[in-house]
Amino acid sequence: MPEEIVKYQRSTRVLHWIHTGAFLLLFVTGLIIFIPAFGPAAAGGVTRIIHRVAAVLFVAIPVLRFIMGPSSSLSGLLKAFVWDSGDVGWLKAAPRYYFLGDEKAMPAQGEMNSGQKLWWLITVVAWVVFTITGGIMWFGKETINPGALTTMVLLHDIMMAIIIPMIFVHIYLGIVHPLMTEAWNAIWRGTVTAEYAKKHHAKWYEEVKGK
């Protein structure tokens, strides 16, 4: 039996998947308004209710995580904002690594590799932007001036335009890419093999083994 290491604990995984479900509902109900050909499907306003219910979940999940563990949440959150030369090393090695499978040039990565950290940063920023712009669009509809409301729609759309390609990349790297063989298992069952950890997250593996 290959040695298994816990990467994501149960609470992390549960919150991830609830958040994923909420995001997908938001994505689809938002896309219907965004893609002109699908607009008529939003007639009558049912998708507006679904969008709001999912929005409450989307906003609440990170808040819930924070309440469940304020200091671990804060330290996890701050990781999104620490960038150094190690990340530059990832960036330089990334084209050969992700296209040609050249693992030798890729420097040792932590629990989140630089790419995962970038996605983490984007999702943190997106949560703030969607919550603020969405909240104003929802509750400010009759009180905020038209120009400001249109600005909220614009910022909401810009954030969405960034998320669209990144969510495809996230799903692709998690499930499809030939090198990321255990990424799915990490977020579904919570574990990776020691061998995978050594290869993909060597710095993290050393920390875990050191305990």
Binding site: I32, I33, F34, I35, P36, G39, P40, A42, A43, G44, G45, T47, R48, I49, H51, R52, Y98, F99, L100, G101, D102, E103, W138, F139, K141, E142, P146, G147, L149, T150, T151, V153, L154, D157, I158, M160, A161, I162, I164, P165, M166, F168, V169, Y172, V176, H177, P178, L179
Partner: protein
């Protein structure tokens, strides 16, 4: 252009408000719903003095046209202008450009028609309209909302124009301050009336809507500057609306680029990762 238009001549208007009544009656938009602060007799708001002849106080989902009374201090003494407020049926219509479901679109005559069954309640039309015309019924918690506005009497099931009838407001007008016809002909007519007004000493007389927003399909002959009659000079659809509209091709482009890029990555990576092994 075979476009039609309404010409409203503010100098012929007596503010009888037959147009308001006719519009409500024809479009089944009565009774007038209560506003915040109204005292009620059952469901019906009691009349009260707002200090103005204007009634109702504002456009609403069931008030698609209303008259405004505007006092203006001119060099020749106090002027009391009457003017109409309703959808201007713009050629460059911000509402049409932002409507996600196509509920708002231009019809063959150039008017902005509205299919209420397609309304999603997003509210973008009201945000895009330079004249702040669209009005909504809305539940702020659930987001359920429906817009309504003047459809130039082309509402489904209540389409007067298809039957060769004038819009209700035009038909009701006792002084023919409101007329409907071919837009080009009404532009000429409007210009003639403006010249006549200028000859009478109304130096600021103007045909509003001839060129504004690509040409409005409700044009006004006005005796003074647009601001005096509560209209914007040089109305424009906000650049923010154009920015929102450009997000669709940008988002679609990024999505397609991502899918193509990832597809390419898969083809290349699959071949090379196996090679390494």
């Amino acid at each position: 252009m075979a476009d039609k238009a309404i010409l409203f001549d503010a100098t012929l208007c007596t503010a009888c408000r037959g147009c308001q009544a006719a519009c409500k009656q024809w479009n089944e938009n009565d009774p007038y719903p209560a506003d915040w602060g109204d005292r009620l007799d059952g469901d019906t708001p009691l009349a009260h003095n707002r200090g103005s002849y204007e009634n109702p106080a504002d456009l609403s989902p069931t008030t698609w046209v209303k008259m405004e009374f505007r006092e203006y201090d001119t060099s020749g003494g106090m002027a009391w202008y009457f003017t109409r407020r309703a959808c201007m049926h713009c050629t460059e219509a911000g509402c049409v450009s932002v409507c996600p479901s196509g509920a708002l679109r231009h019809n063959a005559d150039g008017f902005v028609s509205f299919d209420k069954t397609l309304c999603t309640g997003c509210g973008y039309c009201g945000e895009a309209c330079p004249f702040e015309v669209p009005r909504y019924t809305r539940n702020i918690i659930t987001g359920q909302s429906v817009m309504d506005k003047c459809t130039l009497c082309t509402s489904a099931g209540l389409n007067r124009l298809n039957e060769g009838l004038e819009p209700a407001c035009v038909k009701s007008c006792p002084t023919d301050a409101l007329v409907i016809g071919e837009r080009d002909a009404l532009v000429s007519e409007g210009r003639q009336r403006v010249s006549a007004l200028q000859a009478q000493g109304y130096g600021n007389a103007y045909l509003y809507g001839e060129k504004e927003l690509g040409g409005l399909h409700v044009m006004y002959v006005i005796p003074d500057k647009p601001e005096v009659l509560g209209l914007k000079s040089d109305p424009k659809v906000s650049g923010l609306v154009d920015a929102v509209n450009v997000m669709w091709p940008i988002g679609a482009g990024l999505g397609v680029a991502a899918i193509l890029g990832l597809g390419l990555n898969y083809i290349v990576a699959r071949a090379n990762v196996n090679k390494e092994k």
